[in-house]
Symmetry: C2
Subunit: 419 residues, 2 copies
């Protein structure tokens, strides 16, 4: 099957000067890959007519699809539309439905349509308008010699909505790329290199049309298995069969199938079991609570937290014994154990978790260097503790610690069921 | 003065397939802009010889400097080095100092240098090696027909270190771009459009060689004033004189000069005045505490927090009166006021702050829709409250609320001095 090739062109100085990071292209690359279209080049150029024409000429020599973002604002600086009209030997003409959409947006804001915004409804006659329900710049779809050119605004949420609703489905219909199906398996608590080692035999035995990608992010590795073929049902079955082998190979590290965050998976576990949780944080300073509460609906299982940044708060609010702090220090198994057990009692929850460590860059000693972090999990039956040793910067130490605590909760809950 | 032009080429499929976002190029764009070099194009291409050669040929028609990242890993897939050797009609030769660096890295890890990594010390004879002290792939600096080509690894921290230590200084020496000086002014609590309106007259009166950029980020707008010229001392004076006018035009919104975060500026204020602070969070769920404790050294002024996600925690841990919750609800001025005042007393701090609101997407009502958020600041003399109305998604509502609280602290501390 011949691959369908796309290129992305972004127009505007903000990306070139580093004022914004080009997240649009990454998103587009991901979505195009998902439907079996291969991105061959991404080009960021300045907002000048010559440069735009050169980029279009180059891209069409390599690609079937050229997706353009940016340069469609209402000001006179933005000349993409005019360049495209010339490029396709056509002229601008008022597109009434686009003007209606623009009028609607201004009506909602309670102000009259400005002349500059009215100009945005003028589109090259040779294009099909791509409706923008979230902004004033309509997109443009051109076809020429079997190739498709689509121009969209650079505003991320406008572009994404247009791609999802219109451009991606139409590209699928037009080019009929091969069926592509992805299955995502989320792992935590195992480094990429060890994971790759464990999965080597399984990966080697995968049929040619199933490909594995390791996608590490902070504190975990996403596995993405991608199948390419002509029969979607058969592909789905093949992928499912392969994915189901994984829990036998790495029984302790899979926390979810699909696009689910660790804090979401744990929220789900807690909800299913009707359990509640409270946190006591020292070195993570609220970030663990933030991760948990970033999930909508977390108030069903999350009660609250004591952030005990000062030792005095540890004794007064979390009843950590002064002797414990004196004998073992704040960063110790004994302290973190008391923190987890006591916050559980204090908040009347099923589970209590705690962190205490040296996030850095200051505060380390020879005995307890920066990155020495204790975490604890407590429920009515038992308390589990772990010593972590990270050697990252402050924010990464905090990030990894929060993930380790969530993973400890997951392991404890899963083990409790297995017993 | 003729502008010095650079182009950036990134090699590798991860960016094209959207597996990673190209933050390297944004960073490079920023750093090049700072030293007066203009980025004309950023091109992301696949790891194939033809494609690399085509990109190099294209780039040299437009640019004086071609910076290449990626494709220098130890595996056989990475062919950048071989392509560059061919491109510059030269062959690979063992570069002893690079082999020493690689050996040093492996020695630290306590393992023997692998053959694959040894191969990384072979460099094209025509290049000057660019030392990589953080990884095993040295960079390469080529000069041809007055143009400079630099190839670096794609690992962000390795590339950044090489750019900062070697490449940027050498480019400055080689091309002598005009003097460029930047001054950054940090604002908060004023939307970009209103800010632009207030600064219009000032901006219009700026001399031609001083340019203003608005760089909005979550919750604030950075102003960057850039001066270009040949006399650094004179430029510095001109910029300083212009920047000093700003506090008279926007007296309430500047929190810092230079690259300082809001939470850092507030930490500094608290330290200078010897004040301590505690937080009581409902809707921000720990994120406010996280922002404060993300600053190294925050334990000097930050005592801790009660995250009261449940109403019961608000009454039990923060002594919010049950009548207050009944009469006004958890999301109310009365509740947030008691939270701030009581957390201050509870932790024995000079200042207490609190948040209570509906972060969404669930939990909104007709009377109190999603995004209705109350915040409070309390010190020994007074309590200030603010009602916020955001219409963002959950995480943005949390982010903006934390910024609003920090800004309220800043305003209260600054006002106290002015009185």
């Amino acid at each position: 099957m011949k691959a369908v090739i796309a290129e992305i062109i972004t127009i505007g100085d903000e990306i070139l000067y580093g004022q914004i990071v080009d997240t649009n292209s990454a998103w587009m690359g991901t979505e195009l890959t998902k439907i079996g279209i291969r991105v061959k080049q991404i080009t960021s150029i300045s907002d000048s007519a010559d440069h735009i024409v050169k980029a279009l000429d180059d891209a069409r020599t390599r690609a079937d699809i050229i997706l353009i973002t940016g340069g469609l604002g209402p000001t006179k600086d933005d000349l993409t539309k005019h360049v495209l009209a010339d490029y396709f030997h056509t002229t601008l003409k008022l597109h009434e439905p686009s003007l209606d959409d623009i009028a609607e947006i201004f009506k909602k804001r309670g102000i009259a349509v400005t002349e500059l915004n009215r100009q945005q409804a003028f589109l090259p006659e040779a294009c099909t308008a791509v409706r923008n329900v979230l902004g004033t710049a309509p997109g443009m779809w051109f076809e020429q010699e079997g190739k498709v050119f689509v121009s969209m605004p650079g505003v991320p949420f406008e572009m994404k909505r247009m791609m999802t609703d219109i451009v991606l489905p139409q590209l699928k219909t037009y080019f009929k790329p091969p069926e592509i199906i992805h299955k995502v398996v989320q792992t935590v608590g195992i480094p990429e290199s060890i994971l790759a080692d464990r999965l080597e035999a399984w990966e080697t035995n995968l049929p040619e049309h199933l490909k594995l990608a390791y996608l590490p992010n902070l504190g975990g590795v996403r596995l993405r298995l991608t199948g390419t073929g002509s029969d979607a049902t058969k592909l789905e079955q093949e992928l499912q069969a392969e994915v189901e082998k994984l829990p036998h190979i790495i029984p302790n590290n899979i926390f979810a199938f699909g696009e689910v965050k660790l804090e979401e998976a744990i929220g789900q576990l807690l909800k299913e079991r009707g359990l509640t949780i409270a946190t006591a944080e020292s070195c993570t300073g609220g970030y663990l609570a933030h991760k948990i509460t970033s999930i909508s609906g977390s108030s069903a299982y999350y009660q609250g937290s004591v952030i005990a940044y000062h030792n005095e708060v540890k004794t007064r609010e979390l009843n950590v014994k002064p002797e414990t702090l004196q004998q073992h220090g704040a960063v110790s198994e004994a302290t973190v154990r008391e923190m987890a057990e006591n916050v559980r009692k204090k908040f009347g929850t099923d589970i209590g978790v705690a962190t205490s460590g040296i996030a850095g860059p200051g505060g380390g000693t020879a005995e307890k260097p920066v990155g020495t972090i204790w975490i604890a999990y407590a429920d009515k039956d038992r308390t589990e503790t772990r010593l972590l040793n990270y050697n990252k910067d402050r924010l990464l130490n905090i990030e990894y610690t929060a993930t380790a605590v969530l993973n400890l909760v997951r392991q404890s809950l899963t083990a409790a069921v297995e017993e």
